[in-house]
């Protein structure tokens, strides 16, 4: 295998890696890898993508073999990176880049700054407050849910993400949001505790995993789809656990 072909394969794999890691569907990852390979003249490439790994091979009887496996833990959902790689793949198809440039571009995408912590906390607060209203809360409930949502993401960013496993962070997140709402309710901010809690747990909902699971299963990528669906259901379940735990404690303390 020539140096150039190796570079093409590495670049294609890198593109797939970024896509999978940041919440793209399985077929998009496979399609992008194959499209990049074909464009640069590697016809024999073959990609197999699971929810947390990519297997790529090329070569065969007459060519030298290239094979690589990458394990990819799903880190977060930076949909802007998915969009950027998609755009890049479109530009590659138009023939705008040499292989070396592609790798540089991918490196840039990988280093794209995510949303700042402040923005994410604000986003969580907005989501909580707004959905509290959608589910029938009063304006004061929304204020409380907004505050609880802010606090929830402070917890998510500084405790859950660096230190906790997924199940634990679901339970803890649900508990923190519920407890925050109870304290606010006790302080007299907000009247309907249930609406407040519903609003403030919404930022924990695994939207990316759930939506992608459905799309993957619909695309007949059953293995990846099933894994993502279990992931989503487990998070839903854990949030409910967290909420339930706090309510149980509250009930016990009242008697």
């Amino acid at each position: 295998m020539s140096e150039k072909e190796r570079e093409v394969m590495e670049a294609a794999m890198e593109a797939g890696h970024i896509l999978l890691e940041n919440g793209a569907e399985i077929f998009r990852v496979e399609e992008t890898i194959n499209r990049i390979c074909r464009h640069y003249g590697v016809e024999s490439s073959n990609a197999f993508v699971l929810s947390n790994g990519i297997f790529v091979t090329s070569g065969g009887v007459s060519e030298e073999v290239f094979a690589k496996v990458q394990n990819i833990p799903v880190s977060g959902s930076h949909l802007d990176r998915v969009e950027a790689v998609n755009q890049l793949s479109r530009e590659i198809a138009e023939g705008r880049y040499a292989v070396g440039e592609v790798r540089e571009k991918l490196e840039q995408i990988r280093r794209m700054p995510g949303k700042t912590r402040k923005m994410r906390i604000l986003g969580s607060g907005l989501g909580s407050g707004a959905f509290c209203y959608v589910y029938g809360g009063t304006l004061q409930d929304c204020m409380a849910a907004f505050l609880a949502g802010l606090l929830l993401y402070v917890f998510v960013i500084w405790v859950s993400e660096p230190h906790l496993k997924k199940m634990m962070s679901g339970i803890a997140g649900g508990a923190v949001a519920t407890a925050a709402c109870m304290v606010l309710h006790r302080l007299g901010i907000g009247q309907n505790l249930d609406r407040m809690v519903i609003g403030s747990i919404i930022p924990l909902v695994p939207g990316v995993a759930f939506t992608n699971a459905i799309r993957d299963i619909a695309d007949e990528d059953y293995i990846a789809g099933t894994v993502r669906m279990i992931d989503a259901l487990l998070v839903f379940f854990c949030i409910a656990m967290g909420v339930g735990l706090v309510y149980t404690v509250k009930q016990r303390m009242m008697f």
């Binding site: 998009r28 949909l79 949303k115 959608v134 809690v197 939207g207 459905i214 909420v243």
Partner: protein, 141 residues
């Protein structure tokens, strides 16, 4: 209802921030989320929650695909944030609440309803993605 739809728009934008959607797409995500909730509100008293969710989710997927083609970007970006208002977050909460309170009948009722709503979302996504891409390209012109 107008207030609720506005709240759904704001909430959906909040979620686009959490999922790092590029800034320029916030208005589209908000619009899609709001449109989904508007349809849900229009249908809900007349239809059951899963039925209303089915139609609302179908609208969300159609709009997401439409904008994805027009903006030449992955449909995921619009779909994931736009579908959030329809996800049965409330159902999850009430189920947990009733279980803790020992109201098993209500718990299984709400839990089952949440599941039905989730299935409605699944069906909407499956149905609309079966439509050929061509349909969405024509609208572009």
């Amino acid at each position: 209802m107008i207030g609720q739809v506005t709240a759904a728009v704001i909430g959906t934008i909040g979620f686009s921030i959490l999922y790092s959607v590029p800034k320029g797409y916030y208005p589209y995500c908000g619009f899609i989320g709001g449109a989904g909730w508007l349809i849900y509100c229009l249908l809900f008293p007349a239809c059951s929650a899963p039925e209303a969710t089915l139609f609302a989710a179908a609208a969300v997927v159609i709009l997401s695909r439409f904008f994805a083609v027009r903006k030449r970007c992955p449909v995921t970006i619009f779909l994931i944030s736009g579908i959030i208002p329809l996800v049965p977050g409330g159902g999850v909460y009430w189920t947990a609440y009733y279980i803790v309170m020992g109201e098993m009948e209500l718990a299984s009722e709400t839990g089952f309803m949440a599941l039905k709503v989730a299935v409605a979302i699944v069906l909407a996504i499956v149905f609309i993605f079966q439509l050929p891409q061509k349909l969405f390209r024509k609208q572009e012109k």
